[in-house]
Structure formats: C-alpha cells, structure tokens
Point group: C2
Chain length 418, copies 2
C-alpha cells in the first residue's frame, strides 16, 4: 500500500497504540487540521478541571493553602524529570524559558572564571541568542556563533572546532532545532564540550514530550525548556530548568530571590542559597500555572516516551514520503533531515512562497501550519493527538492548494505569532 | 459611641460606600475572619469565569489566538497604570516581582556607570535585599543598608545621609513596609535621591491597590510590585514593572529576551530592544495569569483608590484604637505608625508571644492573621472586602484568646508561608 493512498494512513491509525489519547484533548472544529502543536499544544480535557479546583482552593483556603502549594515547583519538576532522563531533585518548574536561560547561562559563566567564550548556533532560537548576546555584552564575554548546516544542525565536529582555544565557558544548543527539526547528537556534543572543559546548556523546548531525552545518561550539565509545546501546558505556560545533581552545590543563580533562599521564612539578613535545585527559583511561583503544567506532564508520562517517539517517527516519515511524491515537483524542498532518527517531532518544508502558502492553508484549507522566516513551513505532529490521516490530509490539502494557485489569491499580511 | 462597642463598627459598615464590593468576592466560611489579604488577596467572583473563557479560547482557537493575546502584558499594564499614577505605556505585566527587581536594578546600575553603591533599607523585604545583595556581589557594587526606625521606616533624611558620597547608583525601598505598614514619603525620598544623582526604584507590593501611588507626579524612576495582595490576582500571580516614559530609551533589561525585541517575529540576527516599556519583557507571557490579573485590577479601578484609601485609613484607625483600649494592657505594642497618614493597609501588632498567638487565632478563633519574624502579628484589612465588624471581631477574638491564655495551649509549629 503506497503512502499516497489515504488508506495507508487509515491503516496506521487503526494500528496506533496511542490512538486513544486523542480523546484526552479538547478538539475544536473537527474539519480543521492542526499541525502547529510544536508551537502551542492542545488543551487537555483534564486541565480546566484541575485549574478550577486550584482556583476554588485559593477562594476557600486562601493563605492557609500555601503549605500545600509551596513545594509544587519541585513536585511538578519531579514529575517531569523522568521525561528528561533526570532524577528527582534535578528539575524545577520556574519562570519563562528566557529567564531560565539567563539564570543558567550566567551561573555557567560564573562557574568557569577565566573562560569568556559562549558558543551557540547562529541559527539557534532568537531568545537563546539574544540572552547570550546580552550576557556577553554585560559581562565582557564573547559570543561565538557556529555556522552549521541549515538542515542537519550543529554536529559534534562543529562544536569541537569552536572549542580549540580552551576559552569556552559553556556551549548552548537546541536539542531539536526549532526550524529544521534536526535532532542534535546530545551525547557526542556534550562529550566534546566536556573534553574542552566547557559546560553544556541544552534547550529542550522543541524536544521534551516528543523525543526521549537522556540528560543524566549523557552527562549533560544544564537544561531549560518550555511546556507549552509538546507538554500542552497552555499559552505562555511555566518553564522548567535542570541542573545535574552533582553540579548544584557549585552553581548559583545570578537572581538571588527569596524562593531560592535556605530557610526562606526566617527572612534572614543575608542570602544563603537553598540546597538542591530550589536555589534556582527566584520569586513566588505561579500556583495556577503549576496545575496546567501538571496535567500536561502527567499525560505525556502516561503515554510513555518510547511509544510517543515511535509514533512521532512514523508521522514525520509519512510527511517526508508525501513531500517526495507530491510536493517536490511543486517546488517544496525538505528543510528537515531525511534520516528519521535525526529528526524531532516536526518537519520543515521550504518554499519560496512559504508565507502566502501558509496564509492560504489557514484561510482556505482549514489547516493550521506554522511559518518561520524566511521560507519555512513547519508541520508539527505531536504524537499524543495527531492522527496519521491528519498528516495525510494536511499534505493533500497543501498540494491541491498549490496546484490550484490559491496562495496567489490571499493577502500576505505580516507574519503572525507563535 | 466608643470604638470598643461593636455598634460603632456596625455603623461604619452601614455608611460604607464600598460595602457592595464585598459581594464581588468569593467568601469562604462566613464565621472566618480573614485579615491576611495583605499576603494573599481573596478570589474575585469574576475570575473563574474569565479564566475559563481564556482556557476555552486556548482549546478552540489554539495558536491562531496569539494575535489577540500578544499585547496583553501592555494592555493589562495600561489598566494598572492609573492605580500607580502612571501613564499608558509606562507599566507592563511581567515575570515575578523578584525577576523584575533584578531587571530594573541591573538596568539602573548600568545607567549610572562609575556609581557603585546601592541603597536599601536593612528591614526591606527579603527578596529585595537578596536581589540587591546578589547583584552587588556579581557586579562589584556595594550594598549600603539604612538602619531606619523599625516602626516609622526610612525617612528622606536617612536616604540623604546615605547619599553624601555621590557614589549611589540607585535607592530602592518599599512604598509600604511589609512588616510595620509604614508608608514612605515617596515624594521627599525621590527628591533627595535625585538631588544626589541616584535613580529610585520603588517596590509597590504592599501599597498598590490600597494606597494611591503617584509615580509620575513625584518623578519616580522605576517601580515593581506583585498583584497577589491588594490586587487579588491569585497565588503567585504575574507581577508588573514601571519605567518612567522618558527613561525607557536610556535603560535596558539585562535579560535580552525575544518579547523585548523590536520586530520580534523577524527573528533577526541581533538584539535590538523594542521601543517603550515592552523592552523589559523577556519570555513568552503567561496568558492565563493575565486574565486573573485583569479581573483584580479592574475591580480595584472600579472602586477607585480615593474611596479605598479613605476606608483603609478608617479600618486601620479602628484597629489602633482597639489596640490602645484592649491590647496594650495585654502586652501588645503598636508596630505601625500611629499617624494614619503614615500607614498603608495593614497594622502590625508586636508581642513577645506573637507566634503562638497567631497559631491560636487560626486554630481556636477562626481568625487568619499573618505572622512575621520575630514578633509581629500583621492584620491586613483590604478595603475592597473587609468590613469594620471584621476588624472589630478580629480584635475582640484576639483579646479574649490572650486573656484566657489559649495561646499557651497550642503547638508552636514552624512558621508558615505567605
């Protein structure tokens, strides 16, 4: 049975052990195909319930509920830890990805005095690059940008070549590239960075929940990530950070806040960082957000990352096959690695008219894709709720639309938001 | 009619123009007296509704709703601005109070190169002190602590005396002292700091929503605050920051994030701070939290700060009168200024057995007060929902309890959380 026949996708759905998880999410318009879960994940059915329960708790118990809330950043972090290959006590929910990047990057610079180079990828996600650029500017460090292959992403050799001067404080890369979907070789890159005496800070935003992560096993030092993509915790949801257990005592957040203080409620005269990962907390944690994060993380854990990854590979493989069969003749390049084991949960298609094509998909074909400047159409296929027929139908609608030239009929308004 | 007669409090309630606002909040146990709204404000009736609506919007519109969400940090900031005496475009909702303190304090240090002293009050709230201590340690600055009067708080003369060396980058104080409730003379302190060439960063956490704030009028430079106290936005709610309009171009956040970037979705190669207060944003804003903040801020605006302040003064005055009449003989000191115009929205009572007394109030008298080390019982009286009979009954239950020695019968467990 050929991938170009819809019955192929239907057969894959029929055999999908995760198919039942789709019903755990709120499904909007049944005709709409949502292939942007890599940007904002769907709403779990359980989220409004837990959120409402915690709101009621605020209303009825008021300040007396704080003893039950105060450890939530660590408790929810411990729920997330196994999905990242981390141990309990190594992950905490906190702040935004951006603020967590700042905290851990500054801590890494401080932990390598005398080393003033920061290495990242020129194609890294903007907020990562901006945070490191700002830190370098304020602290007299040098931001060294890898010019990696746009599809395959940075390799261990790229990192090794940039580390030869022995002046690198830390290397920071995305585990899965936000544009191409390329999956970095976390183990090899961590090893060459360590060989050069540098720490490694991974951004897991586009991998956590779709790809098994093995932070402890590969000896990673630091990591951050968001929960609003594959972890389905909602728009602007609370982020997380990871610090390997044996590094925690040595590192300090640059933001000395009362939730990172030992014996917080003694309100003592001087700052003394809490033991463990809690020292990277800053202000009062957002209790309502923690309930949304908890639901999304539990759902992912219930499905299991091995099953999710297997389905995710099959989904992206179907997209690549249909790109080859249908879209290559229409001028679509493959912006993601061809080797399935080298991809995360989304596939990037490149086309010189990517922006009007995305508008047309949204406005005329009821498909929600994701555009990234200058020429990428990202198709995100979160395995928890994406069916194989969704992938098939999205590509089918896409090829029909471009064949008919519908993208020449829409307004090319400014790029929208993720 | 004497303050010691309950009918006095009843008469004040009968004449209270804000009495109707109590019904806008979820009231738990009607027998419980909640005098800890200075720690965590009550749940507005409207909050679960707006929150549920925004959750539904996430579920049904998914990523396509972002164009409606993306300006919420500024739009809700503009709703808050008049309560702070600020203009539209000077306030933005962002992060936690701690992270905002860090951002603005670092920006102030950077804006005063060559000046390396930071002035704050030794009795400032812990997270403020810790943030400045950490910043001073990392940036080679000196943290200079005012030793102000414990009840009256720091005066303009205290600040002036600490600024004589011409080396002060910024002064940061609480507008209302978290322990004593003392209301700082924002105008005079700002003037002496400016005279010395320093910037001023105000922490409004314990004043916003209870006391009119006139940031623009007094020429304040910077401010931060939380929304979970008198603004009733929920546990760990989103905080805010203020940067005076004419200073915005000159200042930069140390955390260069993508939400502070000009033309964010061009995802350009280098960071270029957005015009206006948005440059102090960092990561993706928490959309659900913004709805809770919106409800609390609108309610406060609807009541009006002048009316709120008038009632707040009358409430704290009643507490002081009853302290004088009933509690002074029982060993309770007044930990707040006696002059009503010098107090914020809470009153601090001091007693050497403050901790067991607080436990007993909670466990035996159904009164929720607030303990602060070492010897303060804070009674918070948010004027939006606190009745005069609540204040009267709280003090009445307190004196009966201490007279009967009930506080000697309870366990003195570790201090609880705020």
């Amino acid at each position: 049975m050929s991938a170009t026949e819809r019955s192929h996708a239907e057969a894959l759905d029929a055999a999908d052990p995760l198919a039942g998880f789709r019903d755990r999410f709120v499904l909007d318009d049944p005709e709409r195909i949502y292939v942007d879960g890599n940007s904002l994940g769907r709403l779990p059915v359980a989220t409004p319930t837990l959120l409402a329960e915690r709101v009621r708790e605020w209303g009825s118990r008021l300040v007396t509920a704080w003893p039950d809330w105060i450890e939530l950043p660590e408790r929810v972090g411990d729920l997330l830890a196994p999905l990242l290959g981390a141990r309990p006590g190594e992950v905490v929910m906190a702040d935004s990805t951006t603020v967590n990047l700042y905290k851990l990057a500054a801590a890494a610079l401080d932990a390598r005095p005398g080393r003033r180079a920061i290495i990242t990828d020129a194609a890294n996600f903007p907020t990562d690059r901006y945070v490191f650029e700002g830190l370098a500017a304020r602290e007299g460090a040098e931001l060294r940008l890898l010019q990696a292959d746009a599809v395959e992403g940075p390799s261990a050799a790229d990192v090794e070549n940039a580390c030869t001067a022995g002046d690198v404080a830390f290397v920071s890369l995305q585990h899965v590239d936000y544009r191409s979907g390329a999956l970095a070789d976390m183990e090899a890159i961590t090893a060459v960075a360590h060989e050069a005496g540098a720490l490694v800070l991974w951004d897991l935003s586009h991998s956590a929940g779709a790809v098994p992560v093995r932070l402890d096993e590969v000896g990673a030092d630091l990591a951050v990530g968001c929960t609003y993509k594959y972890l389905n915790a909602g728009p602007g949801a609370l982020a997380y950070l990871y610090v390997r257990g044996d590094l925690q005592e040595e590192l300090r957040s640059p933001i000395w806040g009362w939730f990172g203080q030992r014996d917080q409620f003694l309100m003592g005269p001087g700052y003394d960082p809490a033991p463990g990962v809690a020292r990277f907390l800053a202000g009062t944690p957002p209790v309502l957000d923690l309930s949304a994060a908890e639901v999304g993380i539990r759902l992912t854990g219930e499905a299991g990352l091995d099953a999710l990854r297997a389905k995710s590979v099959a989904l992206t493989e179907l997209v690549v096959e249909l790109r080859d069969a249908w879209l290559a003749p229409l001028g679509f390049g493959l912006g993601s690695p061809r080797e399935p084991g080298r991809r995360g949960g989304h596939v990037s298609l490149r086309h010189e008219e990517a922006w009007p094509i995305c508008r047309a998909l949204l406005e005329r074909a009821n498909v929600v894709p994701d555009f990234r400047v200058p020429d990428s159409i990202r198709l995100g296929l979160p395995p928890l709720y994406t069916r194989f027929v969704d992938a098939w139908d999205a590509l089918d609608r896409l090829r029909r639309l471009v064949e008919a030239g519908v993208h020449h009929e829409v307004d090319a308004a400014p790029a929208r938001v993720t």
